[in-house]
Amino acid sequence: MARFLFSRLLATLPVMLTVLVVVFMLLHIGPGDPAAAMAGDNASAEQIAQIRQRLHLDQPLVVQFLIYLRQLAQFDLGVSVYSGRPVATMILQRAEPTLMLALTTTLLSVLVAVPAGVFAARRLGLVTDYVVMALCVAGFSIPVFVIGYALMQVFAIELGWLPVQGYRPLASGLWNSLRSLTLPTVALTLLFAALVARITRATLLNVLSEDYIRTARAKGLPERKVVATHALKNIGVPVVTVVGTSFAALLGGVVVTESVFNLPGIGRLTVDSILSRDYPVVQGVMLVFAFVLVVVNLLVDLSYALFDPRIRQDMRS
């Protein structure tokens, strides 16, 4: 197990190195002087020079990259050009709404999508199957902000059941916090659940055509038991994989959803930083999100052992 974990961690190194290079190079691919771009149109030559010096942009590219790596090794994500505050602190302070939104969306998506996918697969070719699949196509075809505004119009403005925008922190009580997250969660769930439900349906259809399912049916087991006992166990790996791989789409969705619902999370911080050209913050957020994705994919790989004894055996040996 430790060897498997070590080999997987080793495999993530080149990925993280590429991420570091891409994120570092972001500052340098735009036209013109990045310091001037960050300083804005009305900045004086001194202010531009100050930013250039602070971000080491006056050094050769290789030196800049080495300084960047050294800072990261000390968990230093740099300093915001505008507020002068450490980027890591800014991200940590904004983490709660984002984590809560990601958590509630993942939970709700799995709770809705897996039964919906199973339901559609068991009713293959019937109206219910088409309805579920149509909802799935709509889920990942309608922009999350259109869904968000539609939900806001109906449930917050017309009916007044839920708050229009904003976030109530956990400190104000779990119920209040969840209430403020209900609409953003539902908007984002439609996207995430659509991807999971499609894979669940497709995988279950594959599994249901396997020989061991035919054997179970031939033994006279009721269909419900065939699905629950024999089929569902075998859809775990692909479903967990799609939850992991779709996490990138979820994080992307978080950026937009937080803007629509005015949630003071990392996504909102990203958009604000992009609009104000505060690139050290943008770089910090990209790095943190990429790190989260790598960790999620690692956890997904490890979770395979829970679903498939053959993988468990392979990991042990």
């Binding site: 590429t18 891409v22 259109v146 969705g253 937009v256 690139y279």
Partner: protein, 284 residues
């Protein structure tokens, strides 16, 4: 389960699929017609007309007006051109770059390790975030937005192409081409690429749909195409502040965009099922 209900179910399923595909095709054709005909006939309604600001849908403004008095009906129909151009442009750029990277990575082992690690690294950054950052850095022109959206899409296409090439390179006709002394570029271009085209075409439909959505997101965040050239994304972005008093600014372009993306995804699925017999077999 008896054979008769299964056959009837398969028949109904086929009929429903045909209707849905026909409807999707009609939507794509209608939007393409809007993209071609609306700008020369209706223009872009870019001129300000403050006297007509925030008019609700009705006559003479069927879809209402925005805060600057611009006609949403005209901007929605004409915006189809920009959104469709972004979709097609990104598909082309992604297929060219991703297809080439996948082709080389799938056939040349040494290049595979290097290229695919770079692709893995790019895929580790959320696509929307990367596109938004690139669009902000490169500026908000049509071409730069296309490039910004293409970069996160390229790794997915490259990975798909590599998978296809890896299976094709084991074919007997490739061994035969090597045996008669064909050069690597010739094998790639004459034997492998034509056989990988179907998979690439299917991928292109999904990239196109995803790019239209991404353009809308970029515009919504404020780093997309300038509002002088209407796209569904920037028309909707213009309605953000006025959502409570004028929801039609977001609703109509949002409806058009969603219908087009749904239609393209349905056509992509249909194409994939046609190419992959295992998928079409499941329908029955």
């Amino acid at each position: 389960m008896s054979a008769q209900p299964q056959t009837a179910r398969a028949g109904r399923s086929l009929k429903a699929s045909t209707v849905v595909i026909g409807l999707s095709f009609a939507i794509v054709a209608m939007v393409t017609a809007c993209a071609l005909l609306a700008p020369p006939i209706l223009g872009y309604s870019s001129d300000l007309n403050m006297g007509e600001a925030l008019q609700p849908p009705g006559s003479p403004h069927w879809f209402g007006t925005d805060n600057l008095g611009r006609d949403i009906f005209v901007r929605t129909l004409s915006g189809a051109r920009t959104s469709l151009m972004v979709g097609l442009g990104v598909s082309l750029l992604t297929l060219l770059a991703g297809g080439l990277i996948g082709l080389v990575a799938g056939y040349v082992r040494l290049a595979d390790t290097v290229l695919m690690r770079i692709m893995d690294g790019l895929m580790a950054i959320p696509g929307v975030l990367l596109a938004v950052a690139l669009a902000s850095l490169l500026g908000g022109g049509l071409l730069t937005v296309m490039i910004a959206i293409s970069v996160p899409e390229i790794p997915r296409t490259a990975r798909l192409m590599r998978g296809v090439v890896l299976s094709l390179r084991e074919m007997l006709y490739i061994d035969a081409a090597i045996a008669i002394g064909s050069s690597t570029p010739r094998i790639l271009l004459r034997h492998i690429l034509p056989n990988a085209t179907e998979a690439l075409v299917v991928q292109a439909t999904f990239v196109c749909a995803s790019a239209i959505l991404a353009e809308a997101i970029l515009s919504f965040i404020g780093v997309g195409i300038s509002p002088d050239l209407p796209s569904w994304g920037n028309v909707m972005a213009g309605g953000r502040q006025f959502f409570r008093v004028a929801p039609w600014i977001i609703a109509f372009p949002g409806l058009f965009l969603s219908l087009l993306v749904i239609a393209i995804n349905v056509l992509g699925d249909a194409l994939r099922e046609r190419i992959d017999p295992r998928l079409s077999g499941r329908r029955a």
